[in-house]
Subunit: 374 residues, 2 copies
């Protein structure tokens, strides 16, 4: 029997309409025409989406499971998103909640090339949680950002990522920034200091991002950040497949919280397409994700199903050093904590503030970390 | 004074919080860190987003105008979206409503290469509304889709577009489909019939889409369809710039109705990046757009501001021949009407049903079309 995707939608509507709405979604996400007008037997029986189950979740909210022929996707990530949610994204009362993907398609997408274990190994931290900080603010010249990077590195940060607003702007062009930051970190290392990994943010079309990876590689960099929803999922996936030695952080910009469940989009799909680490807005920070959402997202990034390497969950967005203990209690050791603004607020004491963050992560007793069993 | 973008957000929150929320958006969409920690004078005065005005629209909904330095965008369409709405898209209570773009950036993006007048000229219809129909359902082999295309063409349809679900599937690979459909339309033309323009749908990463344009061009095709939100805006724009003789239809899949106002995203931004025609869900069909939204979207696609060629508004999604008069009253002559399912329902009478649609559009008295003065 040909493989099918199982997509789960949450639909808000009244009970009398739900069966019709469910059928309409199944048609919209497959043949997009009146089924009565389809004469072809293969199309009717295989290609038309099927409503498999409808379950009432709460008053006027229904969980609808629809199966779609995997053949409609082929092996293209953009078409995968198109068939899962493309036109239905135009309906404000529908959320794409989850999807079960046939094994062959998961294997074709391939997942992370490196994942949690490799990102740990690269910074010599086999068991503890990882640390990260962002280069900010945009507007600074490359040399100033390199100084910020040096302060982070001296304080022992594992991964230093570009702010996702850093692109190829006149005040800090990508090439100049990569050269300055990589050079600054290299000279620290050569002076006997600890090396930190710099993660520059890619932007532009596929060719531009390829050229940026080339520049990064020439500067000795082996990790980059991409915003899959801006780059386009197919282009993100292509970059991953073309660059087997490069690790990829996925940034959630434009991943619009409301309409595709964040655990699905950021935790499961970005990972399936090759993200080694997935940044997401942590609960209790500047964004509205709940603890449950964050937990589900981290589980989706890490779980051992489906033969994929685990991707590192990277909660971020308004975190502070004071919360390190609480966050490690919550996530366990399989996490990368990303703190930015709260450290930069220390201004001339940036290094000391960062060292305090790093120390909190290092001194945490992981033997007692409960986290969630994944 | 350096150029600034003026972005308008609709924010739902209580009156006591709106000033803080507005400042938070201005910071999120620019430096993404505590302003108090920024020591650099250029960054403080130019790069940090500025709350320009806050106006209460209705109870607990505010229109917030924020200006952002155009330098943060450079000239990249993806980064443009990133700076306008990237992280703020993660807040469910904020909608990106509109943006005013500096002249230099509009010129850099360039807008449609062809637009309304050229799409009319190509099909020999200098004044009336244009007609379009989609090839469906996916699952049919290329030869069957070519028969559907012939029926549409014989009935006098101007543009025949792929259903946006048609990609490069095993049952109808892109290359085979383009060859079959283009061949079928060419043989009609050679037999003295009227030629219709075939608009194949591109999918995949940038390189794949380039290869598809190459195949289309070899088959004599000069119009293609792209889904900008799936391809990535930078890649869409790159294709437009690389292919000056090709006209581009933009499809709204994944343009998620709820969070960026459709007139802005589909009407204004897709056009600014080079869409010659913009497909959108019409009011009163399968989707929830209001007449006001559709009118604003059509105006944004057509208006004569900013030196851009007008893009053709293409209302679609559950239209019928019975509504042609009403739609032309509403939109005027500067429109392309797209009807699919309602014609395919006629099954063996597809050609006659299509001819009736075409006749309605041709016989409409455009002298009396009021439409909206654009």
């Amino acid at each position: 029997m040909p493989a099918r995707l199982q997509a789960i939608y949450l639909v808000r509507c009244d009970a009398r309409s739900i069966e019709e709405r469910a059928r309409a979604i199944a048609v919209e996400q497959s043949v997009e025409m009146p089924v009565s007008a389809i004469t072809d037997e293969f199309v009717r029986s295989e290609i038309v989406g099927r409503v498999e189950t409808i379950a009432e979740k709460e008053n006027n909210a229904f969980e609808v499971r629809i199966s779609l022929a995997a053949e409609t996707v082929g092996r293209d990530p953009g078409q995968f998103l198109n068939m899962l949610f493309g036109n239905t994204s135009l309906h404000e009362d529908v959320v794409l909640a989850d999807v079960t993907v046939p094994k062959e398609l998961i294997e074709a997408f391939g997942g992370p090339r490196h994942g949690l274990d490799a990102l740990r190994r690269r910074v010599g931290a086999p068991a503890r949680a990882l640390t990260a900080s962002p280069l900010k603010p945009q507007g600074l010249p490359a040399a100033r950002l390199a100084q910020v990077a040096q302060a982070f590195a001296r304080a022992g940060i594992d991964y230093i990522k570009d702010d996702h607003g850093l692109a190829d702007q006149s005040y800090s062009p990508f090439a100049a920034r990569v050269e300055a930051v990589a050079g600054a970190l290299r000279s620290l290392e050569q002076a006997g200091g600890r090396g930190a990994r710099y993660v520059p943010s890619l932007s532009g079309d596929l060719d531009t991002m390829r050229a940026q990876i080339g520049m990064a590689r020439s500067a000795g960099i082996d990790t980059v950040m991409v915003a899959p929803m801006i780059a386009g999922l197919s282009n993100f996936h292509r970059l991953v497949r073309e660059n087997p030695t490069i690790a990829f952080f996925a940034h959630p910009t434009m991943a619009g919280a409301a309409r595709i469940a964040p655990p699905l989009l950021i935790g499961k799909l970005f990972r399936m397409l090759g993200a080694d680490a997935v940044i997401f807005p942590n609960y209790g920070g500047r964004f509205g994700y709940s603890p449950d959402t964050c937990d589900a997202l981290a589980r989706a990034a890490l779980d051992h199903r489906e033969g994929l390497r685990p991707a590192v969950p990277v909660p971020a967005g308004g975190m502070t050093t004071a919360r390190v203990g609480e966050l490690l209690d919550f996530y366990g050791a399989d996490v990368m904590l990303l703190i930015g603004g709260a450290l930069l607020e220390a201004r001339e004491h940036l290094r000391e503030a960062t060292a305090a963050f790093v120390a909190e992560v290092h001194r945490y007793d992981y033997g007692y970390a409960h986290g969630q069993p994944r």
